[in-house]
């Protein structure tokens, strides 16, 4: 089989059952047609024509809405065209100077994009704070591999408002967001979620288990704060401490462990040959992995003798 035949098969294979584009129909009153737009907005159209939206709406419309082309999103433009561009009428421009409320602008996108991941957009945190679809997505030119993001990458897009979380990726211990190995949307659904913090799973733990399933258990010996919320001890966006811990060990553990024995001793350092080191009896509590030098299985142990998470 020739290569071109093979690629044809790949490209068309999944589209064999696709509904064919319907024949052109009359536009409703007030609509001018995309050709009128193209005549004047050549520069914008040049960029737009490279996008998936352009391919769909200008070349392969499947529905009456898509057949309206530019006016499917911007609204009827006949008055605008007939006035030579002076009269904007009800056109929605999606720009900063556009008078249409965010909810009206978003409703344009939601005409088509209201399914699957966006099923819970209405009333979501971003909807409630008047975040417009076009605050994050750029439609008029291709600017990212996926999602038509305005700023090229997910972290740049989210970081435009969530600067603290974005900068956490620069902390010594961080998720590899800056290295582009994961993205904010691996854990969060910015379009709405039934879960706190727009998480993609029911709890913080269930999100973490997506990649860290080894922590899921259930274990014979369990650690209560681990079972309830990984974020009790870890800051998932990054921290100054190893393992993205919120507070350095041994203080992290000492916040709760105030029984008797070794956990609640404050620990001390001394100076030897100009170097600050723990006193001899505190070495295993302060150096290197601190409490985890011994309590390695702190997330839970399935060892019959692992009650103290040392096995």
């Amino acid at each position: 089989m020739r290569l071109s035949h093979l690629t044809s098969l790949l490209v068309f294979g999944i589209g064999l059952v696709a509904p064919r584009p319907a024949a052109a129909r009359q536009l409703p009153p007030g609509y001018a047609g995309s050709k009128e737009c193209i005549d004047c907005h050549k520069k914008d159209i040049a960029h737009f024509s490279e996008t998936g939206h352009a391919r769909l709406m200008l070349q392969q419309p499947r529905t009456d809405l898509e057949r309206r082309g530019c006016e499917a999103c911007h609204g009827p433009g006949k008055a605008h065209a007939e006035s030579g561009g002076d009269e904007r009428g009800g056109l929605i421009t999606f720009g900063k100077k556009n008078p249409a409320p965010v909810s009206v602008r978003d409703s344009v996108c939601l005409q088509c994009h209201d399914k699957t991941n966006r099923i819970l957009w209405a009333g979501s945190q971003h909807d409630g704070r008047n975040v417009a679809c076009t605050d994050c997505h750029g439609i008029m030119q291709p600017s990212s591999e996926r999602g038509n993001l305005k700023r090229g990458t997910v972290i740049e897009t989210c970081g435009a408002c969530h600067a603290k979380q974005k900068n956490a990726a620069l902390k010594p211990s961080h998720m590899p967001l800056g290295e582009k190995l994961i993205e904010c949307i691996n854990c969060h659904n910015p379009h709405g979620s039934p879960n706190p913090k727009l998480l993609k799973a029911s709890t913080v733990n269930e999100v973490c288990f997506t990649c860290h399933a080894e922590k899921r258990g259930p274990y014979l010996w369990q650690h209560a704060p681990v079972v309830e919320n990984c974020a009790n001890c870890h800051d998932p966006h990054g921290s100054n401490h190893e393992k993205m811990l919120k507070v350095s060990r041994p203080r992290l553990c000492q916040q709760c462990h105030e029984g008797t024995g070794h956990p609640q001793q404050p620990r001390q350092v001394t100076t030897v040959n100009g170097r600050v080191v723990p006193v001899a009896s505190d070495i295993q509590f302060l150096l290197n992995r601190q409490c985890s030098n011994c309590h390695f299985n702190i997330h839970g142990s399935n060892h019959p003798s692992g009650q103290a998470f040392t096995r």
Binding site: S4, T7, V11, I14, E50, R55, Q59, P101, S103, D114, K115, T116, I119, L120, A122, G123, N130, S143, E145, G152, C161, K164, N167, L170, K171, P176, P194, S202, E206, F209, T210, A213, K215, R216, P218, Y219, W221, Q222, H241, V247, Q255, E258, T260, Q264, Q265, P266, Q268, V269, V277, S281, Q284, L287, R289, N293, C294, H303, P304, Q307, T310, R311
Partner: protein, 728 residues
């Protein structure tokens, strides 16, 4: 500098091949009713200053930085003649441990198939020192007699301790009808390599050994979902099945100080259980109904069950203790048969009865039910060393209910005010936790100025009070006046401000400020307060159309204070000695400055630019005794004396300068010089000798480095794709 000739030759050859290809690809061509196009960025990297191998831990933490040939980006697209359906191939960092490859078949609005392979390295250490051999995966042996301290400290660096993730994902989305979406998603994550872990052999004050934990794990995650859309409703149902398999269930290490097993004395070896195999299944359904007056009612429910029944390993590897238990006829359970059921329900109503009014209400519940049968282990062998009384594993069920109502009112075109009130209640089992019910109430308000041509401004504030319904002491050694921070009464204040200001078209200012302050009014001991402040300013300026400048400053500070009491012994004097109180303040700061510049030096021919960044972080643990410890023996008073620990710091300074020469609209050459300087000090790891006290560490640390390197790339990016960012 290294000999660049081979790399230059390789680049020239590749460039020639690409040039030949460009005759066909520089302009999209049509092949048998398809249009083909593509892009590529290839080149060479040569180090001017290469860190030593043992200094590479931080430099290569999540990436590979080879010198020599680079295949940075690859993109190819075949499109049907009508420019509609396409096959796309994406590649980054080809041939490296952080390689990304993606193949996508896309029929917009109809079907989408994506296959991705995203490799992710994680380097933990490049300067570990480790004596002994790994006789089989996860079994570390030492020679007999055991090496002395000098030998341990003189041992050479071992291979980097690193982990490699190889996630492969296949996602298929199919829309057989406009009202029906089907998605099937399968992910396999293979994890291999090692990471440092500790193994204890003695009781408190005795020895522990740090070893590399062997990792050979596989995760399979399968999800299928279907969404149905009607005129006024949507319904999405999904099922997920997750499997975790661990090929190495335990790790065994020789005790570096002991070579003979003894009954209730010492163990010559230790064995630790690693994560057990487990399974999880989840059903979920989400629905939405549109009602009159722009009202949506949505509901989401999910039900999951997790199981874990991996065989237990033997209770001890100490032959003397094991023989003793066998002779005594002690029998141990063989596996847990762990079962957890989770359920979530979320119902919400959103209504916009007026253009300017948005009303929301929500109720949510989550239950974590541990249905595992309570299991008692008759005898514990602590650290393989000493036999002690048995114990029963804790079951930790909990549930959480929350409700929230809010209303947003657009006062005028640009101003929206939102007020809301949230209630949240967490219920725990007092057999294992201290507080049965913890309720939190949170009123909040926010004001958003959006839609102005020159500024966006968002301000929000919330205040919450969390209170428990009583305290139950679970274990007798617990300090009865201590409160754990996740259960304690808490007052929380949160404030955030975000401003995006464009005073003139050429200048954009972004200002962020976040403040959070938690206090714990009923915690005589435990966390006293937790304060977080973060602020930043970003400025971008286009003084002339051909020049862009930007810079920024971000700063964050965490201030966490806890109060504790040293408790030892069993008498009231040793449990409740008021002079043994100590207060610790943990202070973290992180600061980043950055500046970038880019300019079109010669239009359509030469571009240049650069970036410079400084990221600093520090933390210190300060502690003091409100009164000098005097109430016990000299050694007890000494043990109760608190002290500050030294400041720990890290600093990273990366920079880049580049020049891009545009040969044709499709072809360009980029030459860059990059550097990265890293320094750090942490008294706990800096200069740590493997044999320190009775402990045997790997002695690894993140060593400072100063890397400098040149990169030259040939960029082929047809004009059709020139808007695609480097993120491709």
């Amino acid at each position: 500098m290294r000999n660049l000739k081979p790399q230059i030759c390789a680049t020239v050859r590749t460039a020639a091949l690409l040039a030949a290809g460009s005759l066909a690809l520089a302009r999209p061509i049509t092949l048998a009713a398809q249009t083909a196009t593509g892009a590529a960025v290839i080149g060479i990297r040569a180090f001017d200053r290469m860190p030593k191998p043992e200094e590479l831990a931080k430099f290569t933490q999540y990436r590979t930085m080879p010198d020599g040939f680079l295949a940075q980006e690859l993109y190819g697209r075949l499109t049907t003649a009508d420019s509609f359906r396409s096959v796309q191939l994406f590649g980054n960092s080809l041939g490296q441990k952080d390689q990304r490859l993606a193949l996508r078949f896309n029929d917009p609005g109809m079907a989408d198939l994506q296959i991705t392979w995203d490799r992710a390295p994680h380097v933990y250490s490049t300067n570990a020192r480790f004596l002994g051999t790994e006789s089989s995966p996860g079994v570390y042996t030492l020679p007999t007699p055991r090496p002395d301290t000098a030998t341990l400290n003189a041992s050479g660096f071992v291979a980097p301790i690193r982990q490699q993730w190889d996630p492969v994902n296949v996602a298929f989305t199919f829309t057989p009808a406009p009202a029906w979406d089907l998605k099937v998603d399968y992910t396999r994550i293979g994890k291999s390599g090692q990471r440092p872990m500790g193994m204890a052999f003695g009781g408190s004050g005795n020895n522990a050994r740090e070893i590399p934990e062997p990792i050979d794990q596989t995760m399979h995650d399968f999800r299928i979902s279907q969404a149905f859309t009607g005129a006024r409703f949507q319904l999405m149902v999904s099922y997920g099945y997750s499997v975790f398999n661990n090929a190495i269930p335990s790790v065994t290490s020789d005790n570096p100080n002991v070579t003979v097993d003894g009954l209730n004395t010492f163990s010559s070896r230790g064995r630790t259980a690693l994560a057990p195999d487990n399974r999880a299944q989840t059903f979920s359904a989400t629905g939405s109904i549109a009602l009159p007056r722009r009202t949506h009612v949505t509901g989401a429910v999910s039900y999951g069950w997790w199981t874990q029944n991996a065989p237990f390993i033997a209770p001890t590897i100490n032959s003397a203790n094991a023989d003793s238990l066998t002779r005594a006829g002690v029998t141990f359970p063989t596996s847990l048969d762990g079962r957890v059921h989770t359920s979530m329900a979320n119902f919400s109503v959103n209504s916009r009865p007026l253009d300017r009014l948005n009303i929301n209400a929500r109720y949510r519940s989550y239950d974590y039910k541990d249905l595992t049968a309570e299991m008692t282990v008759p005898v514990l062998v602590i650290n393989d060393r000493s036999i002690s009384a048995g114990a029963t594993g804790d079951l930790l069920p909990w549930n959480r209910r929350s409700a929230e109502a809010s209303a947003s009112l657009r006062l005028q075109q640009y101003v929206t005010v939102t007020g809301g009130y949230a209630w949240d209640r967490m219920h725990r089992d007092t057999a294992v936790r201290n507080v049965a019910n913890v309720s939190e109430r949170t009123p909040r308000i926010s004001v958003d100025f959006t839609g102005l041509s020159f500024a966006d401004l968002r301000v929000s504030y919330s205040h919450s009070t969390r209170r428990g319904d009583g305290y139950h002491q679970v274990d007798s050694p617990e300090n009865p006046d201590s409160r754990r921070f996740d259960e304690a009464d808490r007052n929380r204040n949160r404030m955030s401000l975000f401003a995006d200001i464009m005073p003139v078209d050429q200048v954009t200012l972004s200002l962020t400020y976040e403040f959070g302050h938690d206090t714990f009014p009923s915690s005589a001991f435990g966390v006293q307060h937790d304060k977080n402040t973060a602020y930043g300013l970003d400025v971008s300026w286009n003084p002339i159309p051909r020049v862009s400048l930007s810079g920024g400053y971000e700063h964050e500070q965490n201030d966490n204070q806890m109060r504790a009491r040293y408790r030892t012994g069993s008498t009231d004097a040793t449990l409740n000695n008021a002079t043994w109180q100590w207060v610790a303040t943990n202070l973290d700061t992180s600061t980043t400055w950055y500046a970038t510049a880019s300019a079109v030096v010669v239009p359509a021919r030469i571009e240049a630019g650069g970036t410079y960044q400084i990221s600093k972080s520090s933390f210190r643990m300060m502690a003091n005794n409100p009164v000098a410890p005097t109430g016990g023996t000299t050694s007890q008073n000494t043990a109760a004396t608190a002290a500050d620990f030294p400041l720990a710091t890290q600093e990273l300074r990366p920079f880049t300068v580049y020049v891009r020469y545009i040969l044709t609209p499709d072809w360009s050459l980029t030459a860059s010089y990059q550097g990265e300087k890293f320094t750090q000090y942490d008294f706990r790891t800096t200069g740590l000798a493997p044999a320190t006290g009775a402990q045997i560490f790997l002695g690894n640390d993140l060593l400072p480095y100063d890397a400098r390197f040149f990169t030259v790339t040939v960029n082929f990016r047809p004009s059709l794709l020139k808007h695609m960012r480097a993120a491709m």
